[in-house]
Amino acid sequence: MFLSLAFQIAIPDPNVNVGLILPELIVGGVGVIVMLVDAFARPTQRWITGGLSLAGLGAAAAASVWMWLNWAGNPPRGFHDMIVLDELRLSFTLIFLFVSALTILISMVWVENEKLPAGEFHSLLLFATTGMMLMASGNDLVIIFLGLEILSIATYVMAGFRRTDLRSNESSLKYFILGSFSSAFLLYGIALIYGATTTTTGFPGTTNITAIAARLDIARYPALLFAGAAMMLVGFGFKIATAPFHVWTPDVYEGAPTPVTAFMAAGPKAAGFASFLRVFIFGFPFVAAAGWAAKANAAWVSAMIVLAIITMTVGNIVAIVQNNVKRMLAYSSIAHAGYALVGFIAAGAATDLDTRNSALAAVAFYMLTYSVMNLGAFAIVTLIARRNDRRTEVEDYNGIGFRAPALSFTLSIFLLSLLGLPLTAGFMGKVMVFSVALKEGFYALVVVAVLNTAVSAYYYLRLIIVMFFRERTTPWSAPRVPASVALAIIITVIGVFYLGLFPNKVIDAFQKKPVTAQALR
């Protein structure tokens, strides 16, 4: 806190509160230090960067927890209301830090084996994490866009990190083109919202999410509100890979190096959800009184229902016919975005604050469970893929069950958790999300979601059957499991069962404490 105190003495403006962005500053600063260390250190000392990055992520997590424990009452805001501190931000921040730390554990030995520049990889990962954290903490469309770009540019480079591999290059280029395309959609939406929220009394427009919510009914160009919200829906839809904006996902996930795919499926997706939730739940909230605000809310909720149904169905049905494990997990990640949208819809349509907060906590919890099981599954896929990601087809998993029992059994646990088997994290996440949707009366939506879960059983169980009940004709030896990957796998296995058996503590932490009983406007 020395830094923050030093700044606060120098700055009379209470809006510049450096302590409020301490986790972001730590991660970004460590990213810069990692670059310097990488430039100074001899090639044999490159492992330092991984340890340094882990230490930085740990420090940022400690700062977040410290912030969590040290505020009460109204959410503190700073930087002219551009940064906000609330449960949504902190829960997602911890998810991002967890995802990045596990990605470093998974990739530590991989980077060395593939002879990739480790320092570059770790600093890019840290910068991406900074962007994700800004996306969760921004209470202003400009900050959210800034965070999104910091995240995206780092991820584009990471997707093409094996630069001698054509698949990796293709993945990076596709991600770059479609990612910038979606950023443009988002930016256009932001511009339209800014124009729309001009008031009849002569105030210029606003990009502040709280101010947008207050301006909806007195907006000067209400029609533009809908166009802007639709554009932002498309932009965020691209980022979290909802159908029909999902076409980039399988190609990018397949071509990117497997640890990067693990990161992309867990981190940026959760970051997209964090700001998607922030913009739509707080920017276009449920309003009982008839008016433009109520219409805007009803419009995006109904659009989102359609999106959720298409996303779940397309993700699960197309995953059935995939023969590449990474592509299959990509479609599975699309389907999981659809399940999380069910909770999102419940949060958007919630009529009282308590339900809304529990729905928000449910979505955050869902993203946490998805990150845990997804990172675990990708850690094992990385090991089985060997050098240069060669073995990622389903045939490569033929009959490995009894030759590498520990690995195959752990992968089966993750797949069953992704399917949503009781006692695992995936089940608890789905229960949370679907129950808030039921509470809000979205029966048909939940029925579709549950049917989709049943469909998904086919492709998750198929891989397990391939591993244990197929004969293998070609020779195969079990891959060596490096200590860091083993640690990552152990953490994720514990996470899967902890979140599946004792979710209460995490959910309570993610949920906003009811400060005062207040109804929505």
């Binding site: 310097l36 990488d38 430039a39 009849t200 160009y221």
Partner: protein, 146 residues
């Protein structure tokens, strides 16, 4: 009709007495439209006029590409070494830095001394991060041509 093209909202908002500080949608967009027209006419007009006005004398030497007076040696569609792009990128970084420095310099001299101090620190942090990037590129051999 024009209102629909220029993204004008419903009639209810158009009838409200517009505060002059904001400007009604149509009038607010006219300068943009005029600028757009000028932007199209400006390059097209000289090309069209030149076609009619210039004397037509085609010589072989005249049809060759102009490379600052030196005789061209190879085809224009050639592969360039990637170093050019790295140098261009490094140049761009410091070019963009100037763009950020200029508005900062303009608001720097205010009456508020505490703000000035803060702005100075912030700008040094910004430049320090840029220098780290520059140093990194240097150490990684981006500036070595041999």
């Amino acid at each position: 009709m024009l209102g629909a093209i220029l993204l004008q909202a419903t009639e209810t908002t158009a009838t409200t007495t517009a505060a002059q500080s904001v400007g009604a949608p149509v009038t607010a967009y006219w300068p943009v439209m005029i600028f757009f027209l000028v932007a199209i006419i400006f390059p097209v007009l000289p090309i069209v006029l030149g076609r009619f006005l210039r004397p037509m004398k085609y010589l072989k030497a005249k049809m060759r590409p102009y490379e600052c007076g030196i005789d061209p040696e190879t085809e224009a569609h050639d592969r360039f070494t990637v170093r050019y792009y790295i140098v261009a990128m490094l140049f761009l970084i410091f070019d963009v830095e100037t763009i950020f420095l200029l508005p900062w310099a303009i608001i720097f001299m205010g009456d508020d001394f505490s703000f000035t101090k803060f702005a100075l620190i912030e700008m040094f942090v910004f430049i320090a991060i840029l220098i780290v990037g520059y140093y990194y590129a240097w150490r990684k051999g981006a500036l070595e041509w041999a």
